[in-house]
């Protein structure tokens, strides 16, 4: 085999590779590998291993380590091999150490010397090997040891060495910018190197440098532009061509740099526009690399100051990408669209259908990219559609990482653009239900706050409606098994605050539900804590309103169980609840006022209300309180002070704690005073009680209470105040942002019932045929009314809708079927997959091929879409070629359905969106 010339292996190595390759199980492979390790260990210890044998052992070690096990016993031999004079051995040694060691490894010290020597070698290959090793093995401390030589090599006669020296310097810059800051001018110098390869390599460090500090490289703009011009004019040697493209990688790097330099710079942008325009003209979009350059141009154009001509060219390129069959290009197209849309939002419109297609694509990568695009173009007018889509997708995936991301995006969009609180709560419910364990706890608190504060407009009626709807939705959800903990906390809190507020549900009903929660999630203390506090509130409201309270037996047993709980928190809550039940209504009302969760609680930090008591105590002979500062001052003299400073981090007894009751940093003080740092969830439900209890009962049983104040109650109540004040602040922000959405929501309400339909319809292509036009005709009229908000658009689009309605009468039965549905189903709760299934069923009745349909409707939703999609893409592919053949083909197909046909027809129209239906996705894209 010619391939092995010059890299000879022994039979053992071949056998090893072969046997591993043939291993039938992982266990067998492991056994082979382990025995190989044993062999190598033994062999390496043998005296006088011949060098070429040693080389082979090293290679075997590298191979073994790649398969998993640790081969550190052989590292030292690899290091030794770098000292060898023989080039082959030396290179093998370097290869092995770069793969084995990291820059902080102990053995590096043995290599630095060799590297220094090798950098001075006459043989340029030795130098290259050493430079290669430098990139991986030199850390901040060892950079100075090799730096002078590397700098010298920048002027080496061999371009391969110069190239690598630049890269090594670049690497140094990445590792420790300060170590090479004085050498940066070298990069500029090398840009003028007469070898294009060296010049190209220089672009890498320059790109990094420019992205760190744009302004100091503005002078290079014209140089970069002229280089790019020369490259595109094929001034470089033929050998740099790649697939008939002149030095494409250099072009791409240059475009990236230009994007950095041109952003926000009018002059630079103008200089660049010429060459960019040329590039668009010259680029060959039939090759992959040509498209890479085109994409890079788009990117560059989206960064520099907008130029209408270039934008047009970029939009053209994007539409080519999107129409291509290649998923890669579609991906790039979507990405490019996401970039351009910031500059000219209109360009999305003509690609609506393509975008929807990508959203429906079985390719996950493409789908995610499209969601990213949708995320970027969300407005209050289309937020419902987009968020619904996102949630559906979120439910369908298992990848927790991405699920978290998309959940947080949903939340972000919902918070920013929510058209109505109702919708917001519903959306949040869905997010919590399906990704509750993945979202940030803040999100839950925001939701609670929103429910408590309502719209922010002073409309109590709307607020209470909102709360009622929240309570209702929670009561429905609460019996579902396995809800995420965070969601249960929200549910418990809301039920506690507002469960009985409306009078619709009885206290015993709500408290029963809460007991069920505490019961079902008995291992989750936080949830239990929330549930108990909620119970307390329910009973408090009952008592306060003068009704007789019957504590449910299960509730009673819950309290009893918790009285003996290991968790002090739960125990305390249970005791409080028990104590509260024994109080009269007036006291209870003061302790837990109705709907006061948003009220600010003023905390008397000086505890001045205790003054009378203190006075009394002092008069009766008690020692006056000595403040912390005074006491620590005393300690200082007794040499105590430094010690407790020292102790602070490790022990719970922090003496320092008393030193810092600065009002500005209360949370700190609280943790120090409270032996068990209170979980933050505690504060919300607890704060009203703590202060009011203290203040109210100051005169009676004060002694006990005072302890409480110090230990557990007093300080935590500081924390709540800060959090409360910050919440209100946030709330203020929140309300403003909501009111944004709110302004639109009153008028956009009616629209919302149609809005989800169109995009959903459309992606589900069957549906498109039937319900799109039907649905849209009704939505059309609707939109006219709501179109007043965006008069310009509305008027422009109206005429275009007229031709669209023509196909409607052609649609037979499914039309009726589907029309009914969209009218009935409202807003966000629609599941596109279900719709699809429904549609498939209905179309099956038309087509009569029941077996196939049965398969479809039984199959998991995802597969259904995929199969439909693939079917459709076949259809459309053929349709693109020739619409007539497509017609005949579809009629030939065994399970062709009318719906599909129609669908493809529409799709065909969509693929070349002429003036047919530009308003189709106005809501989504406009």
């Amino acid at each position: 085999m010619g391939s092995q010339g010059g890299f000879g292996q022994s039979k053992e190595f071949l056998d090893l590779v072969k046997s591993i390759g043939e291993a039938r199980s992982k266990a067998e492979e492991d056994r082979i590998v382990l025995s190989e390790i044993d062999i190598l260990k033994r062999k390496l210890l043998e005296p006088d291993v011949p060098k070429r044998k040693m080389k082979e052992y090293i290679i075997r070690l590298v191979y073994i380590e790649m398969l998993g096990p640790d081969a550190s016993f052989g590292y030292i031999h690899a290091v030794k091999m770098t000292h060898d004079d023989n080039l082959l051995l030396k290179r093998t040694g370097y290869l092995a150490v770069t793969l084995f060691l990291n820059e902080d490894h102990d053995l590096i010290i043995l290599i630095v010397n060799t590297i220094q020597k090798d950098l001075r070698s006459d043989n340029y290959l030795v130098v290259c090997a050493a430079l290669n090793a430098i990139c991986r093995l030199i850390n901040e401390e060892t950079i100075p040891a090799v730096l002078p030589q590397v700098v010298e090599l920048l002027n080496h006669q061999k371009e391969a060495v110069r190239k690598k020296a630049i890269m090594a310097l670049h690497r140094f810059h990445r590792k420790s910018p300060s170590s090479v800051s004085h050498l940066i001018s070298n990069f500029r110098k090398r840009l003028c190197d007469n070898d294009p390869g060296v010049m190209g390599a220089t672009l890498c460090p320059l790109f990094d440098l420019i992205s760190e500090d744009v302004t100091s490289y503005k002078d290079l703009v014209s140089s970069f532009v002229s280089i790019l011009k020369q490259v595109t004019e094929r001034r470089l040697p033929k050998s740099y061509d790649y697939h008939q493209m002149p030095a494409p990688f250099i072009q791409i790097k240059l475009l990236k740099i230009m994007a950095l330099l041109g952003s926000g710079d009018k002059n630079a942008s103008e200089i660049m526009s010429m060459v960019l325009g040329d590039l668009f003209r010259k680029c060959d979009s039939s090759t992959n690399i040509g498209n890479a350059i085109l994409y890079e141009c788009i990117r560059c154009i989206s960064c520099i100051l907008p130029n209408p001509k270039l934008l047009e060219a970029a939009a053209d390129a994007i539409s080519k990408f999107l129409k291509s069959d290649s998923h890669n290009l579609k991906y790039m197209g979507i990405d490019g669209l996401g970039r351009l849309i910031k500059i000219s939002p209109d360009i999305a419109e003509q690609h609506q259908l393509a975008v929807i297609d990508c959203l429906e694509d079985p390719d996950d990568t493409l789908k995610r990219k499209t969601f990213e695009l949708l995320y970027k173009m969300t407005k209050s007018s289309n937020v419902e559609v987009i968020v619904d889509r996102m949630i559906d997708y979120m439910i369908s995936i298992n990848d927790n990482h991405y699920k978290t991301e998309i959940a947080s995006r949903c939340v972000e969009l919902a918070e920013q653009f929510a058209p109505s609180n109702q919708w917001f709560i519903q959306t949040m419910n869905k997010v919590f239900e399906h990704a509750g364990d993945l979202v940030n706890i803040k999100v839950a608190h925001n939701l609670m706050r929103l429910i408590a504060e309502g719209f922010g407009e002073d409309d109590d009626d709307a607020d209470s409606k909102l709360r009622l709807s929240a309570v209702e939705s929670y009561l429905q959800l609460i019996s579902e098994p396995k809800l995420p903990s965070l969601f249960l906390q929200v549910i418990s809190w809301v039920l506690g605050e507002y469960g009985t507020a409306d009078g619709k549900y009885s206290a015993s009903y709500i408290s029963g539900k809460l007991c069920d929660v505490a019961d079902a999630y008995s291992s989750d203390e936080t949830v239990k804590g929330y549930a108990v506090s909620a119970l307390m509130k329910i009973y408090a409201f009952e008592i306060a309103s003068g009704r007789k309270v019957d504590v449910l037996p299960e509730c009673q047993s819950l309290i009893e169980e918790l009285l003996a709980s290991h968790s002090t928190d739960l125990q305390q809550r249970a005791y409080e609840l028990q104590a509260l039940l024994a109080l009269d209504s007036r006291a209870v009302e003061t302790i837990i006022p109705l709907d006061a969760s948003c009220e600010d609680i003023e905390v008397d930090k000086e505890l001045s209300f205790l003054n009378g008591y203190i006075q009394q105590a002092i008069e009766s002979g008690a020692q006056p309180y000595i403040s912390e500062r005074e006491r620590s001052g005393m300690f200082e003299t007794t040499d105590y002070h430094p010690q407790d400073h020292h102790e602070v981090p490790s022990h719970t007894l922090r003496f320092e704690a008393y030193e810092l009751p600065k009002p500005s940093v209360p949370p700190q003080a609280s943790t120090e005073l409270v032996p068990v740092p209170e979980p933050s969830y505690y504060s919300e439900s607890h704060q009203p009680i703590s202060t009011s209890l203290v203040s109210e009962r100051e005169s009676s049983e004060i002694k006990l209470r005072l302890d409480g104040v110090k230990q557990k109650w007093g300080r935590p109540s500081y924390q709540p105040t800060t959090s409360a004040s910050s919440t209100t602040q946030q709330a203020a922000n929140g309300t403003t942002s909501h009111s944004d959405g709110g302004v639109g929501s009153s008028s956009s309400k009616p629209r919302s019932s149609y809005e989800p339909k169109k995009p959903e319809i459309d992606p589900e292509k069957q549906r498109l045929a039937a319900s799109l036009f039907g649905g849209s005709s009704s939505s059309r009229t609707d939109k006219k009314s709501s179109g007043g908000q965006k008069p310009a658009k509305g008027t422009v689009n109206k005429p275009a809708t007229v031709p669209k309605e023509n196909p409607t009468p052609v649609q037979p039965p499914p039309d009726l079927l589907d029309l009914g549905e969209p009218m009935a189903t409202t807003v966000s709760t629609m599941d596109p997959f279900k719709e699809l299934e429904g549609l498939m069923d209905s179309s099956s009745q038309d087509g009569g091929s029941n077996d196939v349909m049965g398969l479809y409707s039984d199959a998991a939703p995802v597969t259904t879409t995929t199969s439909v999609d693939s079917l459709l893409s076949e259809l459309s592919d053929s349709s693109k070629g020739n619409s007539r053949t497509y017609q005949s083909q579809t009629s030939k197909g065994p399970n062709t359905k009318e719906a599909l046909e129609k669908d493809a027809l529409v799709r065909q129209m969509g693929v070349n969106p002429t003036s047919q239906n530009p308003t189709l996705f106005k809501d989504l894209l406009g």
Binding site: S3, V17, C135, K164, M167, Y295
Partner: protein, 166 residues
């Protein structure tokens, strides 16, 4: 910059793995396994790109290409162009093809150090160094020649004749 280059066969066995930032061996294994499990779940005829933040941290992308029994994988960050990376794989494969005349999985396994020599000419310290496969070939050939020369001087006398393959 490029974070890693991997080649693995369709059964998930790594054939070559190079990480441009140091990773402990276990982490490397974990990443290789993670990448493979993502790749093998990808259907045919989809894009060659993946966002792979979950394995390699934020802003990580992955480009792969499937040749016969091998996956070629490049992992990189936002400063590279996906399509260009796809072509970089193409460059690598073209070069290997020239090196081994019709490259196959076994060539890669058996010519470990040559593989690395080729790769080092193309990607250097995480940056694209050379993209002309002719240039790469020239450099690699020169290395082989010099290595062979230095070999024959120092090693041939004591070595068993004919060990050098062929």
């Amino acid at each position: 910059m490029i974070k890693a280059v991997m080649m693995m066969n369709t059964q998930g066995k790594p054939r070559l793995a190079k990480f441009y930032d140091y990773m402990p061996v276990e982490k490397q294994q974990e990443l290789i396994r993670g990448v493979f499990s993502v790749l093998c779940s990808r259907p045919e005829n989809v894009s060659n790109f993946l966002e792979i933040d979950s394995l390699f941290g934020p802003d990580s992308r992955l480009v792969y290409k499937h040749y016969a029994t091998l996956y070629f994988v490049l992992v990189f960050d936002g400063s590279e162009n996906e399509l260009a990376m796809l072509d970089l794989i193409q460059v690598l494969v073209e070069t290997l093809d020239k090196c081994f005349s019709n490259v196959c999985e076994l060539d890669i396994v058996f010519n470990y150090s040559k593989m690395h020599a080729v790769l080092d000419e193309i990607v250097f310290g995480g940056q694209v160094l050379e993209t002309s496969s002719a240039e790469v070939m020239k450099a690699v050939k020169e290395i082989s020649k010099l290595e062979a020369a230095s070999n024959s001087i120092s090693l041939v006398p004591k070595s068993v004749s004919g060990w050098r393959g062929r």
